[in-house]
């Protein structure tokens, strides 16, 4: 089976949906961060796929690399926040973290 843009986009969509599902269903903040990573990587696959199959250039690859770097730094900050929250509230369950409620 030849791999075309269709299959690639389907994989990316699956990854994205999994990420969304993870965010919606998991209570743990770290698991939610994992879902965010899945979504980011779905986007990266899309960048690379469009570059590879439609334009045949390197721009998409560059964008994907920047995206990976961005995700890494984002996770670093987010994990630090989660640790801080855990330390002060003794929990990382998102259902309980509702102090921003209007």
């Amino acid at each position: 089976m030849e791999i075309t843009i269709r299959e690639t986009l389907l994989i990316a969509a699956f990854l994205f949906s999994s990420g969304i599902f993870m965010i919606l269903t998991r209570q743990n903040a770290i698991a939610i961060l994992m879902g965010v990573e899945l979504i980011l990587n779905a986007v990266n696959i899309n960048f690379v796929a469009f570059d590879r199959f439609l334009f045949d250039r390197v721009d998409g690859n560059v964008a994907a690399i920047i995206n990976i770097m961005l995700a890494a730094s984002e996770v670093a900050v987010a994990l630090a926040i989660v640790i801080c929250i855990f330390r002060s509230l003794k929990t990382a369950e998102t259902d309980r973290l509702d102090s921003l409620r209007g």
Partner: protein, 693 residues
């Protein structure tokens, strides 16, 4: 030489200025006599200059006897052109001599009379200012300048009547004099306007209207042709000027101020309210003789009013008990004589009587002042009596002046009064007709009354055995100082010899005064052409002497022995009449009722109008503004603020509903985000579907 004319009025003005500005310090430093000496010397120098000019006038031929000094063009407005011009013709010269001469004597007398007063500087400043105004009045060569003097003497009269202004009655008397005079002056001014209008009509467009006497004399004949309605211009002008004269010279109906004017210091009463100022009206009519002769009607009115006043005021003298009030009514009565004279076109007789009256009435007033001085300020003759031997100089001078005013032969009053009687009688054969007899009759009765009330005064005041006053007053009685009695003697001497300048023609001499005044009056007498009769003059002279003798004898019978009480039986028999006369015919009360109360009621009504209508309108406007402001406040509070609040409330309402969306839980946000993404997708699909259709 003309400039000497200017010095005559200016010197008293300078004296007035000195006393008015630095007089207070002079009095404080050197005493009040110095103020008096300054004032007296200025007026005395004026008198000396007047004498010099008078003599130089006499040295000139009759037709050249006139000195004019035209200083500058004073008023120039449109066709009206009035110069500041002074004149010295026989009439002015005589008046200036009387005013400055009698004035100087009275200034001198005042030094003694006022010696204990606190503000002599003020007194002498006023007195000098009066002399200045009066001299301007008699020396002015045009009506406008004369009016300045006319008003000036009115002002000084007011100031001097109210000199002791701390006494409210005296201040009120001053105001009464001033206001009554204003009524007369109003008539004078209107007359002046009529005259100017008349001259305009005569001169036509482009003519220059001057008010100088020489000019008026020239055009008087042409003016007599001018008519307003059925009245001749000169009748209207003459009557209106006479209204002014009744105010200034205290004739019916405006005489009421003069008795009250006695509130002033006695020398003031003598100078202003007897000798000079009150004669201004007579002088004015004599001066304007060339206008009056063209209006027999105006002359007749003047004569009749004068004669009525003469008798009316004389009867009021019967019942007065204040020595100065008696003399005040006597003055009014004598002024009536003068007006009767000028009204009978006997201008020189009027001026003659003016002069002799100035002498003997000034003497009487100053004598009364001396009596009051001796009696420690007592003015009620009922408390006097027996003063004959205690103050002999005062008594003899007073007696001489009384004889003069009563018309005893040989004294000045006899000659002048006799001439007036004779001329008024003869005017019945001239222009006045039957009115002439009436005037004559009134005057002869008035002459009898004059003799009576004057000797009533003399007998009550000086005769009798004892003084009817308190012990302290009696003990204090003393003859006045030399400076006062010498003036009395001088004036009584003048009262004796003053008549000989105007001896009647029947004595075989030419009347000196009449000849002297002839340049001023001759033309007028020719126009009216009043006949003369020596027989009539003899008879009238006898009548006049008879009247004087009867009057004096009557007073002697009643008052010689018992003084004031001698008249008791008569008083009781005619009690109602006496009551009316004693209260001056209730004229003051009637004036109060008719004029003053009307004015007061009117002013009260106006004040009420102001209070309720004008203030009401203002308050209403205020009230309306307040109501509008309240409405505005309500609108602001409920509508404007309400709108703002509704917006805020709306936003708050929406906010409260929306806050539920923000749960603070991440999953909720993501749900919303995702479902929003789905909705967006669906929407796009639907849109594309419909667009492709």
């Amino acid at each position: 030489m003309e400039y000497l004319l200017l010095l005559i009025p200016i010197l008293p003005l300078v004296g007035s200025m000195i006393n008015g500005t630095i007089g207070y310090f002079i009095q404080k430093r050197y005493g009040g006599e110095v103020n008096g000496i300054i004032a007296t010397s200025t007026i005395s120098i004026s008198f000396l200059i007047a004498v010099y000019l008078f003599i130089s006038l006499l040295n000139q031929p009759v037709e050249d006897r006139k000195i004019l000094l035209n200083l500058y063009n004073w008023v120039f407005a449109g066709s009206l052109s009035v110069d500041f011009e002074l004149i010295m013709d026989p009439l002015s010269a005589l008046m200036v001599l009387v005013v400055s001469g009698v004035g100087a004597l009275i200034h001198l007398y005042s030094i003694g009379y006022m010696h204990s007063d606190k503000s002599q500087w003020r007194y002498f400043s006023y007195l000098n200012l009066f002399a200045f105004s009066m001299l301007i009045l008699v020396m002015a060569d045009n009506l406008l300048l004369m009016f300045v003097g006319w008003e000036g003497v009115g002002l000084c009269s007011y100031l001097l009547i109210g000199f002791w202004y701390q006494d409210i009655d005296k201040a009120v008397a001053g105001m009464k004099a001033f206001i009554t005079n204003r009524v007369g002056d109003f008539g004078f001014l209107i007359g002046l306007f009529f005259l100017i209008a008349g001259i305009r009509m005569v001169e036509g467009e482009g003519g220059v209207v001057s008010l100088s006497f020489g000019y008026l004399r020239e055009i008087s004949e042409r003016l007599s042709g001018v008519h307003f309605g059925s009245f001749g211009l000169l009748t209207i002008v003459g009557l209106l000027f006479f209204v002014g004269a009744t105010g200034k010279s205290a004739q019916i109906p405006l005489y009421v101020w003069l008795p009250d004017a006695m509130a002033g210091p006695t020398p003031v009463s003598a100078l202003i309210h007897a000798a000079t100022m009150v004669t201004a009206g007579v002088y004015m009519i004599a001066r304007l003789n060339f206008l009056y002769v063209y209006s027999p009607l105006a002359l007749t009115v003047v004569a009749v009013v004068g004669a009525l006043t003469a008798l009316y005021a004389a009867t009021m003298g019967f019942a007065q008990t204040d020595i100065k009030k008696v003399l005040a009514y006597s003055t009014i009565s004598q002024l009536g004589f003068m007006f009767a004279a000028v009204g009978s076109a006997a201008f020189s007789s009027g001026v003659f009587h003016l002069m002799t009256h100035a002498f003997f009435k000034a003497c009487l007033f100053l004598g009364a002042g001396s009596v009051i001085h001796a009696m420690s300020g007592e003015q009620d003759i009922r408390k006097m009596g027996g003063l004959k031997n205690r103050i002999p100089r005062t008594y003899y001078t007073f007696l001489i002046a009384s004889l003069a005013i009563a018309g005893v032969p040989g004294l000045s009053g006899f000659f002048s009064k006799d001439e007036i009687l004779y001329r008024s009688f003869m005017s019945a054969y001239g222009f006045m007709g039957v009115w002439g007899y009436i005037v004559f009759f009134l005057l002869i009765v008035a002459a009898l009354c004059t003799a009576f009330y004057m000797f009533r005064l003399v007998f009550i005041t000086f005769y009798g055995s004892e003084v009817r006053a308190g012990e302290e007053v009696v003990h204090h009685i003393h003859e006045s100082p030399r400076s006062m009695t010498s003036v009395l003697i001088a004036l009584s001497a003048l009262s004796v010899i003053g008549g000989y300048v105007g001896l009647p023609e029947i004595f075989g001499v030419h009347s000196g005064l009449e000849g002297f005044l002839s340049p001023v009056f001759e033309e007028s007498s020719r126009i009216l052409n009043v006949p003369s009769s020596h027989t009539a003059e003899w008879i009238i002279m006898l009548l006049s002497v008879g009247a004087a003798v009867v009057g004096i004898y009557g007073a002697y019978r009643i008052y010689y022995i018992n003084g004031y009480d001698g008249a008791k039986p008569i008083r009781e028999r005619i009690a109602p009449v006496h009551y009316i006369v004693e209260n001056k015919y209730f004229v003051d009360e009637i004036y109060n009722l008719v004029v003053i109360d009307t004015v007061k009621i009117f002013s009260y009504l106006l004040s009420q109008f102001d209070k309720y209508v004008i203030d009401g309108i203002v308050n209403l406007a205020g009230r309306i503004t307040v109501v509008f402001a309240d409405l505005d406040g309500i609108i602001d509070k409920y509508i404007v603020d309400g709108l703002v609040n509704i917006v805020a409330q709306g936003i708050k309402f929406i906010g409260e509903r929306m806050r539920g969306l923000q749960t603070g839980r991440i999953q909720d946000y993501v749900y919303i985000m995702v479902s929003g993404g789905f909705l967006g997708l669906i929407l796009i699909r639907v849109l594309i579907y419909f667009m492709n259709r």
